[in-house]
């Protein structure tokens, strides 16, 4: 099956186009951005804090030394510096005290640019801790001379290094987690979409009763699957109804077509002259008419069921239609010796399709006369209802319809076994049902004790302007 192959190729997912890939990528990017932002804040907060601590230390030390110079002169400050250096085992403190002539009085810094203010400097070879990096504060002394106090920044640099490697680790872990999480979520989405796709493919392949899997959770996928399943149920129902109708039509048209064929074959075999041929031809025309009747009824039912006729609804005199229908069926009732009783309230108007309503009432009376008892009674009544509409009833005193079969007789071609002896297409009540539904009429088949009572509750019926005659 080359076509299926082609379609399968078309449907084959490209990994970069899949939802899973996009979710993974998005997840990854967001995780990385988050980690970077967090590391940045941590960096800024902790190294900034360490540098500020260092600067405070330098400022306080420089202040103390300047106080010593003011009180005890440069000599006492020099002693303090030497004492500090002697006790500084870690070797992170740096000092320079220079006289007015620029010569070093105390300290471990060989030479320093004698400029006031904060600066960062790297020590050259001549100094004690060559290569160290300092944060230093230079202060000119009153009456000449210069004091510089410095601290090694190495601890801050260490902290920075530590933070950097920590950020690296966290970033790496976040990357892995993002990738894993994204893949996991993506795979879940892909799996469920694939499961739905597989199920739909089976439906497409003809397993019309197959349904999408629904988990108990009830997430978006389950809701979607449930919706699709409901839609599939509906489609299946419609398909079955259509198949039923097609089967019915095929079956019920075959019988009269077969009769027509038998009649013509018999004529070919046995007809002996003009009169025989004529009789056979006339019979064949009658058979054709029966077939055409069935088609016409089917088309009318289809029209009524489609609802398209609603656009052409007009207000018409229902009472007059009921009177006419009763009049048209009176001869048939008379032929069967039945009395046709009518009680029709005049001048009731309804909005609808008068042709279809006429046919609906005609079918009901036709049924009542055909299936009612010969010599019995058929009744047609139309009266306004207390609820605002109107109620129309058609009654006969025949065998009626067993309660269990009342739903079935409304279907196309359904005929009760007892009715098979009487002529009819089996479409009369199906049309009644379709027309009733088109007009929002409530159709009820009940018991007339004995016989059938059909009740139509017709909404929107109003007394007309005219006399209704």
């Amino acid at each position: 099956m080359p076509r299926t192959d082609a379609r399968a190729r078309e449907d084959r997912p490209r990994w970069w186009g899949s939802t899973a890939f996009r979710i993974t990528l998005l997840h990854l990017v967001l995780t990385l951005i988050g980690t970077l932002a967090l590391s940045g804040v941590a960096w800024w907060a902790s190294t900034g804090f360490a540098l500020r601590q260092l600067a405070q230390d330098v400022e306080r030390d420089s202040g103390l030394l300047q106080q010593a110079i003011r009180i005890g002169g440069p000599r006492s400050a020099a002693i303090s510096i030497e004492a500090r250096l002697a006790s500084d085992r870690s070797g992170t403190q740096y000092y320079l005290l220079a006289g007015p002539d620029g010569a070093r009085l105390a300290g471990n810094l060989a030479s320093a640019p004698q400029t006031p203010g904060w600066r960062q400097l790297r020590l050259s070879g001549a100094d004690a801790g060559a290569g160290a990096e300092l944060l230093a504060l230079g202060t000119p002394l009153p009456g000449g001379g210069f004091l510089m106090v410095g601290r090694d920044i190495a601890p801050v640099r260490q902290l920075e290094g530590f933070l950097l490697s920590a950020a690296g680790w966290v970033g790496g872990v976040a990357l892995l987690l993002g990738l894993g999480g994204g893949l996991l979520i993506g795979r879940g989405v892909t799996r469920r979409a694939a499961a739905m796709g597989t199920a739909l493919a089976r439906v497409e392949a003809g397993e019309i009763d197959h349904r999408l899997p629904v988990r108990r959770g009830g997430d978006e996928f389950d809701r979607l699957a449930r919706r699709i399943n409901t839609a599939l149920d509906r489609v299946q129902g419609l398909m079955q109804a259509l198949r039923q109708v097609t089967d019915d039509i095929a079956h019920d048209l075959r019988t009269p077509l077969n009769r027509l064929r038998q009649r013509l074959e018999a004529a070919l075999r046995t007809a002996q002259g003009e009169a025989d041929w004529r009789a056979a031809t006339e019979g064949a025309i009658l058979d054709c008419e029966r077939l055409l009747d069935i088609f016409a009824a089917l088309l009318r039912i289809a029209q009524a069921e489609s609802g398209a006729r609603r656009a052409g609804f007009t207000r018409f005199d229902l009472s007059a239609v009921a009177e006419t229908v009763a009049e048209v069926h009176a001869p048939a009732a008379e032929e069967r010796g039945q009395s046709l009783e009518t009680a029709i309230a005049p001048g009731l108007e309804m909005l609808g399709d008068s042709d279809l309503v006429t046919q609906m009432l005609s079918n009901l009376l036709d049924n009542a006369v055909k299936h009612g008892r010969a010599g019995g009674r058929v009744a047609l009544r139309l009266a306004p209802a207390s609820s605002g509409g109107a109620v129309l009833t058609v009654e006969d005193d025949g065998p009626g319809i067993p309660a269990g079969a009342r739903g079935a007789v409304l279907h196309r071609f359904h005929r009760l076994d007892a009715a098979r002896a009487t002529p009819g297409t089996g479409l009369g009540l199906a049309l009644v049902k379709a027309v009733a539904e088109l007009h929002g009429i409530d159709l009820h088949l009940g018991e007339a004790m004995p016989g059938l009572r059909v009740t139509l509750a017709i909404p929107g019926v109003t007394p007309g302007q005219g006399s209704g005659a």
Partner: protein
Amino acid sequence: MRILVVEDDAETADYVVRGLTEAGHTVDRAADGREGLFLASDGGYDVLVVDRMLPKLDGLGLVRALRAAGVRSPVLFLTARTGVGDRVEGLEAGADDYLGKPFAFTELAARLNALARRPPLSAEATVLRVGDLEMDLLKRLVTRAGQRIELQPREFRLLEFLMRRAGQVVTRTMLLEGVWDFHFDPKTSVVETHISRLRAKLDREGAPPLIHTMRGAGYCLRAPD
């Protein structure tokens, strides 16, 4: 009569043309809507038979164009679509009658006769006369040879329908449509019953019959020779 048949299906067209020619009419045939419009536009036909669905220009369009051009020749629509909505649409477009396919030839012939001989609307009479039968439409009175005849409303409508088409064959379907507003066949003998009741009232005491049954075709009301 001069009749134009606009029908694209060759078999149906042959059947209709042959039947009408045999009945003594002069028949032309057009195979599509545009040809039909061309032939009919001079108004030289007594009646047109137009299929609803035609190539190039469909039946509705053809009739609308003819009416817009002032051609008043009566038109009978033939159609395979027998929905009521279609019938109303056709009549609104300017057609005068409507016949669903398949149809009996007698039905078509009777309807064409009725269409072609329809009196112009302006000359609407208030009194109809056929032989010694007289119907006063205003007073709603019917007399035969001066004798008053009492009719039920439906019988009056039926007689009026027949008198307006006196001398023509009127089919059962035409009567169901025109007198009872039934656009389908209820399969009852209501037409026969009413005709026989009407006969009984019209032909009293050995008077010559006015309503004749045309076997296989319908009824005809005509004055005795």
